[in-house]
């Protein structure tokens, strides 16, 4: 560590989060909660790092206490403090669990802000200097030669122009090469018109996570220009870290770009839905899926990977105890894998055990960092669990012929969806991007508010709904006979308040009540006669 020789620091970046630092009332849900049964959420001991290291300082609650002490000068920056600051994977599990503010206390952002403050004032780790220097000078964090980035693809040539760019990412290009290779092969065999940037640079994710943001602008600008030159309308990536950086961080940092960003799982999902490709396993297998934090919590892509997996004939997907929004972290993110390898292995080992408890033979993920971490975790645990990344998992099962026609939707579901489309005023009062998931005895679809009075009804489960509504078939059959929205709402309220064995409606709130109120659910509930 290089010490700037200061004992009392200014925390310019962290201080922007004063409100969160004040509002955290240390309930500890982020640290020790088990919400599995008591409130029907898949939350179990949310902080994967705290679960390994034990002390409260490693949980979100503890971190906020330490941050407050730092700002108040009760603790001075030190080597210990720097080590502590870089043990957080910034996986956002704590924030998803937290209900203290509408979006949860923003620990990942606060952690990155603190790291920025520390780095700017000379409190940092030598390893991180090396990573930054490598990114700046070689375009990747691994000190690998810039001109060897595409060696992973052998003699394969890529066109200058294409409709799709596959943004490979440093980890797939230099370390997890199988992911890069299988992704390219999948795209080739699916007949996708795609190319790869000849001079792709690191997306900058690792710099953001480590609080070293100086080079981010140059990298992002260069990559955007290079993509523009290909004429591509879509950029796909098989790296969850790259995906989040493009989809979330770049946008939040004010960058605009004329192309759509898709994770490979979303892209494959589209191809499957469009009946362009299909998959079949020759034998029945049971797998489980690990949600990468960058893809899931940070970018809210939960369902696409699952739909892709479930589209493979003879594959049975089982969920781990913690999954989707509440999935435990693999331990590789936030710079932890590079900074504290043993800690990352321990965390990954815990996730491997969780996967083993499902009875699955294979653990699939969709991120080269997670893949590396979980493979190491399985080795560390001496586990037989097979860990594979989604493109690698799928490739052997790709069928020669085009996709099969999707199964016809259940008529009741179709009728209900159509009815809701024709009665958008049922959702009057809800704000843009409010999302309600509907379930009719196991079959799901969702409604999203596109704008005032305008809804979108999708025949699939929502990625991250605000509310889940469950209906009996008889209730649905009666509801869509109602001619007006008011009649519908009145009956809806009755089914909810006075359910019978045949006609009932239940609900699960999936968001903090404050967030729900902000999204207009107060009026929705009043109209439906719930309140």
């Amino acid at each position: 560590m290089c010490s700037g020789g200061l004992t009392r620091m200014e925390f310019d970046h962290l201080s922007k989060y004063q409100e969160d630092l004040w509002l955290c009332a240390r309930c500890g849900d982020c640290s020790l909660a088990d919400k599995t049964v008591a409130s029907d959420r898949d939350v179990y001991m949310p902080c994967a790092v705290k679960n390994v290291l034990g002390f409260e300082a490693y949980s979100c609650r503890g971190r906020i206490m330490v941050m407050n002490d730092l700002i108040e000068g009760k603790i001075e920056p030190s080597e210990d403090l720097v080590d502590w600051a870089f043990t957080c994977t910034t996986c956002k599990s704590c924030q998803e669990t937290c209900t203290a503010t509408a979006d949860g206390i923003r620990l990942p952002e606060m952690t990155e802000a603190l790291r920025q403050d520390l780095v700017e004032q000379g409190f940092d780790m030598e390893k991180h200097h090396i990573i930054e220097d490598s990114i700046v000078s070689k375009g990747n964090p691994y000190k690998e030669a810039r001109n060897e980035r595409l060696d992973v693809f052998g003699d394969r040539e890529f066109p200058e122009k294409a409709d799709v760019v596959y943004f490979v990412g440093c980890t797939s290009a230099y370390r997890e090469k199988e992911i890069a290779r299988t992704t390219v092969e999948l795209l080739d065999r699916a007949g996708v018109d795609f190319t790869i940037l000849q001079d792709e640079k690191c997306c900058g994710s690792v710099l953001l996570r480590l609080g070293r943001i100086d080079a981010f602008d140059e990298l992002t600008t260069a990559n955007i220009e290079a993509i523009k030159e290909t004429g591509a309308s879509k950029v796909i990536t098989s790296c969850a870290g790259c995906y989040r950086t493009w989809k979330v961080d770049a946008v939040e940092n004010g960058y605009e770009y004329p192309f759509e960003i898709l994770h490979i799982t979303e892209f494959l999902d589209q191809l499957i839905q469009d009946e362009q490709i299909s998959f079949e396993s020759p034998e029945e297998i049971t797998i489980t899926y690990h949600d990468p934090c960058h893809l899931g919590r940070h970018a809210e892509v939960y369902e696409a990977p699952r739909r892709v997996i479930q589209a493979v004939d003879n594959v049975n997907l089982v969920e781990m105890e913690t999954n989707k929004r509440y999935a435990h972290c693999c331990g590789s993110g936030g710079g932890v894998k590079g900074s504290f390898g043993d800690l990352a292995n321990d965390v990954a080992g815990d996730r491997i055990e969780e996967a083993e408890r499902t009875g699955a033979q294979t653990l699939v993920t969709a991120c080269p960092f997670c893949h590396r971490g979980l493979v190491d975790g399985a080795d560390y645990n001496k586990s037989d669990m097979v860990v594979t990344d989604l493109p690698t998992f799928l490739l052997p099962y790709l069928k020669g012929e085009k996709g099969k026609k999707a199964e016809e939707e259940d008529p009741l579901k179709k009728q209900f969806m159509e009815y809701l489309r024709e009665h958008p005023m049922i959702f009057d009062g809800l704000k843009k991007d409010a999302v309600i998931d509907y379930e009719i005895e196991g079959d799901r679809f969702h409604v999203r508010l596109v704008d005032k009075g305008e809804i979108e009804v999708n025949p699939r489960r929502a990625e991250n709904p605000d509310v889940e509504l469950m209906f009996s078939e008889d209730a649905v059959e009666e509801l869509f006979t109602k001619e007006s929205e008011d009649e519908y709402a009145a009956r809806f309220g009755e089914f909810f308040k006075d359910p019978t064995d045949e006609k009932w409606i239940k609900f699960n709130l999936r968001r903090n009540i404050v967030k729900l109120l902000m999204k207009g659910y107060r009026k929705f509930a009043q109209k439906a006669g719930l309140i």
Partner: protein
Amino acid sequence: MSIVKAAGDHPLYQQLVDIVGEKKVSDNQVIISSYSKDASHLQAERPGIVVMPGSVEEVQDIVRLCNNTKTPIIPAGGRNGICGSCLPRVEGAVMLDMVNMDEVVNLDEDVMTVTVGAGLRWAELIHRLHEKGYKLGFRGPYGGNVGTVGGSTSINSIGYAASKFGPSDEGVVSLEVVLPNGDVIHTGTGWNKDAKLFGRYSSYNDMTGIFLGDHGTLGVKTKVTLKIYPAAEHKLYGDFGFENLQKATDAFLEVQKRGLTEELNLLADRQSTDTFFPGFLDSHPEIHAMFASVVQESDEQLAKRKMEIVREIALNHGGKDLGNFASQMHWGEMFNLVQPLYNNGFWLNTCHLRPIPTIPKMMEQMWNIFEKYDLLDKGIKWIASCLGAERTYATGWVTLFPPNEEKMELGLEAWNEMLDVIMDTGGCPYWNGLLWEDRVLENTEKPFIETYWKVKNAIDPNGIMAPHVFRGTD
């Protein structure tokens, strides 16, 4: 594994490492910082060192070490209480972070008890019992995602299902306690090493009660045995509104007296309902107080009939049926209800117990305080709620929410007056801690507290367990 290395400055550091291993002990200020507060605004001393024991034997060794060296020691559970009870009053204390002692030790279906490590959190215990087809009586405090069985029973916590089953202590059958000299005792039928843990009252006086609510002053609870019940699938909900608090209280008292509900929760004024659930009463301008009721039974007909009776009582007292959304949300969001209230600001609570008929009188004085300080106009919201408890008393939870640090001073001024009102109107805090201790001591009969100290001095002659607790905070 340790990332942040211990400083090793605490006098007992090496001996504690010898007992529990290096990974479970730290006196580094970064680690200590995260043990410096609970979920209240109250502050005391920071621990000198934090230890995470994993077995009763380790606890015994630690306690013996502290006793031999006259080092203060304080046990802590989930540390999300709101009265400062787990914060040391003296410097250099050894804090036991008990959360690793969280195993379900024994589920005894013959006698319907479960024995758990004191560090087990209530929500996880519910989870584990659910897997076996059982439920708890008292489910846990409102912070039960994190609050531990040992912590709650040390400070008389109250919360979910107290309306039927009483506070946390009521469900306790037996305790395993490490005494300040390192010996272990098992209370209830545990006095007989060959017997099951099935009854609290047996052969001797009720030794269990001595340790319940002791705030960690008499020993370290390492195991708690609780009553369990068959899972009950049939739940019915009812929300009822009233035009004034008196009518609501009368109905609330009658329902509670008849023992009909698993949970019965009164919101004492419109502002409370609006803080808790904005918009809920918009369609009911005449309603100024309400209660939410939850019936839970293993028999559907029984559940239905009970809810019918609750409804009849409410309507007989002039109540209005408001549906059941609030009560469903209240029960379905178990242990998640209070956290969203932080959106209104940091809370200043007045948690206590009181006879139900005294609620209106207490609230009259509260409203006077709110008006005197012009709280709403100054951006400070409140919630006044009462939970039916055991048979015919209730909790009183009147809580202010200063929205930011600037408003804290005003909030504290009003809050201190509120605490006085609680005591003056016959309220009795259920827990003590930094929150209540001075006011409680002022009102405590001399022979009572002297008797406590005789017991304390006999059990803990070196005064190592949670020193200065019950002596006053000044």
